[in-house]
């Protein structure tokens, strides 16, 4: 204390008083900050943070090119920065607002996002009495939406493709209930076996041939009458109709649709092959992919992916040793054509039990394009 004392005591008067005031002010300030911080955590911070986070998500949804189905899980109750769920959201044309009581809450959290001209969120407000809301964003093509995941359980078809808008129609459509060949049977006549066999040790013939025949025979009779087939799908003509005969039956078709089952150990994809230089084939392949994926998703069939695979028809038409067993030999006989490879033979039961669903999807597209 000697430092602060002169003989007249003026140093104390000069320094100690303002220092005391300042130190006191700092203590008050720190205490006030903690107090305000506590209120802020509960009132403003949470709402502004949520608004920022959701606006960034809206920006992302509006920026990605592909489809998405995104569920926004907020932090859990046990996390340090959880939100207690007593908040409502409002998505407007260019901003997200988060509020607790009224939409005009002066302490609401607001954050802007960047709207697009070619796709926009429809304005939507979620006012929840419940303890928790889970916003769910979806973008399928140019259609975007925000729903409450707690209420909207419907699966969105994220595999949906954006197809050409050109209208296509075909007069002579040939359906080929096709199949691959067993590579082990090197001597067998091409096209005369049953294709991929799921389990050769089983007595029942769980074969690709059986599945595609059944699939084609599920098409309604009135439609079937207007179509042509490379083989009789109403009975098992395995070994009777060779691939050569199927090729002949497919010749000069306006459209050939060859149905096949894939062989994938774990996945259940949909692949459609089309000649790269045929816009009509691509258009049809796209429509077929969308119809099949729509039906599969809406019936809770676990689809792991959709691909449209272009091939070079000139290479396939070179009927040499390499391509003699290629199933695409039938497809290239038509002016347009696609080869549909559906799911995986490994999941035979999933395929067999749902043949009516796949047939329904194929029927829908065929009716749409039949002249």
């Amino acid at each position: 204390m000697a430092l602060f004392n002169s003989k007249r005591g003026t140093i104390v008067g000069f320094m100690a008083t303002p220092l005391f005031h300042i130190i006191f002010a700092v203590f008050v300030f720190v205490g006030l900050m903690f107090f305000i911080g506590g209120i802020k955590e509960k009132i403003i911070h949470e709402k502004r943070f949520l608004a920022t986070d959701l606006a960034l998500l809206a920006d992302t949804v509006l920026s990605v090119k592909d489809n998405l189905d995104l569920i926004y899980y907020p932090a859990r109750k046990t996390d340090k920065y959880h939100f207690d769920g007593n908040v409502s959201f409002s998505f407007k044309s260019n901003k997200v607002e988060v509020f607790t009581e009224r939409p005009d809450d002066p302490h609401r959290g607001i954050y802007l996002f960047a709207p697009r001209k070619d796709m926009q969120f429809s304005e939507k407000a979620f006012k929840f009495d419940k303890s928790l809301i889970i916003p769910r964003f979806s973008k399928i093509g140019n259609a975007i939406s925000i729903v409450n995941a707690g209420e909207e359980k419907k699966a969105f078809n994220v595999h949906k493709l954006t197809c050409p808008e050109t209208k296509i129609s075909f007069s002579r459509i040939v359906i080929d209930a096709g199949h691959g060949y067993k590579e082990s049977d090197g001597d067998s006549v091409a096209g005369s076996d049953a294709g991929y066999v799921f389990n050769p040790n089983k007595v029942s013939v769980e074969s690709e041939s059986m599945l595609v025949n059944n699939l084609a025979s599920h098409l309604p009779e009135d439609l079937s009458k207007e179509l042509q087939f490379t083989r009789n799908v109403r009975f098992n003509d395995q070994g009777v109709i060779s691939r050569d005969a199927r090729i002949v039956n497919a010749q000069n078709a306006d459209l050939v649709v060859s149905l096949h089952i894939g062989n994938h150990p774990k996945d259940f994809p949909l692949k459609i092959f089309y000649p790269y230089n045929s816009e009509e084939s691509y258009n049809f392949a796209c429509q077929m992919a969308n119809s099949l994926s729509d039906k599969m998703i809406s019936n809770n069939i676990h689809l792991t992916g959709v691909s449209l695979v272009p091939f070079n028809p000139d290479l396939i038409l070179d009927f040499d040793e390499v391509h003699k067993n290629n199933p695409l030999q039938v497809v290239v006989q038509g002016k347009s054509g696609v080869l549909v490879e559906l799911g995986s033979i490994v999941q035979f039961k999933a395929l067999f039990d749902n043949l009516h669903i796949y047939a329904n999807a194929v029927e829908e597209v065929l009716r749409n394009v039949k002249k």
Binding site: P18, F29, R48, D59, A114, K117, Q120, L161
Partner: protein, 166 residues
């Protein structure tokens, strides 16, 4: 208060006032700025927002891959390198942020696109004081020219966003 018994301001009182001011002003300034610094740091999107906008532009000007039928992030057909595509990606009528872009292919001097050109040209010289700048460079392949190039996206924006604009 600043007068002694003689009614004049003493030197001691003036020194005291200056001394108090020197100590008090920083404290008061901190009281104003610290809360803003703490809170703004929490809400700072750390350029995530800017990167999203730039990827949106990249998606708008790149082409669909022939093999996958998906948008390829690296292939650009220079015939489709058009401002219209970018204008579709942002609706400036309801977009409340002050933001402008210059999109440039250095390999092709004549190929420069703008979004909100007027704002960009005013704001660019005022960076980084009044406005901020965020620049990204991507490696792209120009499919019709059969050559690779850099793609530069230069973004100028106003960091002070008016949130409540009703």
């Amino acid at each position: 208060m600043l007068k002694n018994k003689k009614g004049t301001v003493s030197e001691e009182a003036i020194f005291q006032l200056i001394y108090m001011s020197v100590l008090t002003i920083p404290v008061v300034a901190l009281m104003f700025f610290i809360p803003g610094m703490v809170l703004d740091n929490v809400y700072d999107t750390q350029n995530l927002e800017n990167e999203i906008y730039q990827l949106r532009i990249l998606n708008a000007i790149t082409s669909v891959s022939f093999l996958s039928q998906k948008q390829s992030p690296i292939i650009i057909d220079t015939n489709q390198f058009q401002e219209e595509r970018i204008n579709q990606s942002f609706d400036e009528k309801i977009f409340k942020k002050e933001i402008g872009f210059l999109i440039h292919l250095p390999a092709l001097e004549e190929k420069t696109l703008y979004f909100n050109k007027e704002f960009y040209e005013i704001a660019k010289p005022l960076t980084p004081v009044r406005y901020l700048n965020f620049v990204s460079t991507y490696k792209v392949y120009l499919s019709d020219k059969k050559q690779s190039s850099d793609l530069v996206i230069d973004q100028v924006f106003n960091p002070r966003v008016v949130l409540d604009d009703d």
